[in-house]
């Protein structure tokens, strides 16, 4: 049960729709960058995206092949565990449903893996059914390296650490496997509406 902080008034309440802001978040119009290490830079002629693990035939696309896939414009609110939220962010990319089209798998979990060694884990059902994309354009321009370019995951219903920057593939697994931040104090699932930031939330 929280108590009142003597003398705290807070910012004048903005026009932002409060029902769009998860608990503990504040709205920003900036675009903060947070990561645990230096920004990787993979040349596009060496980039590929793969789906590996629990499926009959691994899938792989080069950059040109990936860009030729059906893509869509996506506009979403995003929520970072460090408390900032940004509404109506614009992206273009490929739906995970498109990438998994026709895949037969018994996997219940997926691990996103990225250049630089970052990983994050999710139940497979959290990236299917129109909930996740691999995006390469942000606000109509190619995604900048410090924001995850050339391509990153977009899984907007969870805290944004569940959307791996510099993503290079998905590994479908029968077992759940905590990723980088999940092993370093952060929640295994990360639902911003239940404020699942850290272990024990």
């Amino acid at each position: 049960m929280s108590f009142i902080s003597r003398g705290f008034r807070g910012r004048p309440r903005s026009d932002a729709d409060p029902s769009r802001l998860p608990p503990g978040q504040y709205l920003t119009t900036d675009y903060p960058v947070l990561s645990a290490g230096p920004t990787p830079h993979t040349p596009l002629d060496r980039w590929d995206f793969q789906i590996v693990g629990e499926l009959a035939e691994p899938r792989r696309w080069t950059w040109d092949e990936f860009r030729a896939l059906p893509s869509e414009e996506v506009v979403k609110d995003i929520h970072c565990v460090t408390k900032w939220s940004k509404f109506d962010t614009h992206w273009r990319g490929v739906s995970i449903d498109t990438l998994l089209d026709g895949v037969d798998t018994s996997a219940g979990y997926v691990v996103q893996y990225a250049d630089g060694g970052y990983t994050t884990n999710l139940p497979l059902q959290d990236v299917t059914g129109g909930k996740a994309w691999v995006v390469y354009d942000s606000d109509g321009a190619p995604l900048a390296a410090e924001h995850g370019g050339p391509a990153r995951m977009l899984v907007p219903h969870l805290y944004f650490w569940k959307s791996a920057k510099w993503v290079r593939g998905l590994r479908l697994q029968a077992e759940d496997e905590p990723g980088f931040w999940e092993r370093n104090g952060y929640n295994n699932y990360g639902d911003p509406w239940r404020e699942q930031r850290y272990w024990g939330d």
Partner: protein, 229 residues
């Protein structure tokens, strides 16, 4: 409570039931207004482990929602809600060893200072080098304490990017590869690097370190301060 610079203050808290922390971790502070409105922000712990007591060093942002409350409103005896410690990656403890290269920009020095203070208190034999970028001599946080600790296991190098005092012989520009080479240690020594500050600072310094041959996975970064785009 103690001022560090014109815009920065250190605040000590006694936290009942505090289970201890490691240098580099942070806490989440939550403020609640009378109408129930809440604001939460994270602050790095500045102090080495010390029983139930922790210190936060807070930079007052003019347009901040939480920092002005902490630096201007809070008085001794007030209570605050905080949660932590948080973070298992950007951490140094004596078992990690050295050599350690700490590079801080402005208030990014706070978690690095926790590491230095931990080393000072706990011994061990890690060698540490701090390269601290500040706007001016008056803006250097922990200036006197760093001067006092500098010696056989700690080297402190300052760069002042906006103005330098008369007779200044130290660095007077943004951190670059040449400065990092002079301050060292070089990549052959395989230092554990901790880099903290505003995003453009961290981005530039990380790139410079990688270009000098430091292994990316030995460079740990924490980017904070005001939400700069």
């Amino acid at each position: 409570m103690a001022p560090e610079t014109a815009h920065v203050k250190t605040i000590g808290f006694d936290v009942q039931g505090w289970l201890g922390h490691r240098a580099g971790q942070h806490v989440d502070v939550r403020l609640t207004a009378e109408d129930g409105y809440q604001a939460e922000r994270s602050y790095s712990i500045a102090s080495a482990p010390d029983g139930d007591r922790i210190e936060l060093t807070v930079e007052r942002l003019d347009d901040g929602e939480v920092s002005p409350y902490l630096t201007d409103e809070l008085t001794p005896g007030d209570r605050i809600e905080l949660r932590g410690p948080v973070g298992g990656y950007f951490v140094w403890e004596p078992a990690v060893g050295g050599p350690v290269l700490l590079v801080g920009g402005g208030s990014g020095v706070v978690p690095l200072m926790a590491m230095i203070r931990t080393r000072a208190a706990d011994g061990g034999d890690a060698e540490m080098r701090l390269l601290l970028s500040s706007r001016s001599w008056d803006d250097v946080i922990y200036r006197d304490e760093l001067a006092g600790l500098a010696g056989d296991w700690l080297t402190v190098a300052h760069t002042l990017t906006r103005s330098q005092p008369a007779g200044w012989t130290g660095y007077g520009r943004r951190v670059d590869a040449e400065m990092l080479t002079e301050v060292g240690p070089g990549p052959d020594a395989r230092p554990q690097v901790y880099l903290c500050g505003p995003t453009p600072f961290v981005e530039a310094v990380a790139e410079a370190l990688v270009s000098l041959g430091h292994e990316p996975h030995r460079i740990k970064t924490e980017r904070f301060g005001p939400t700069g785009g």
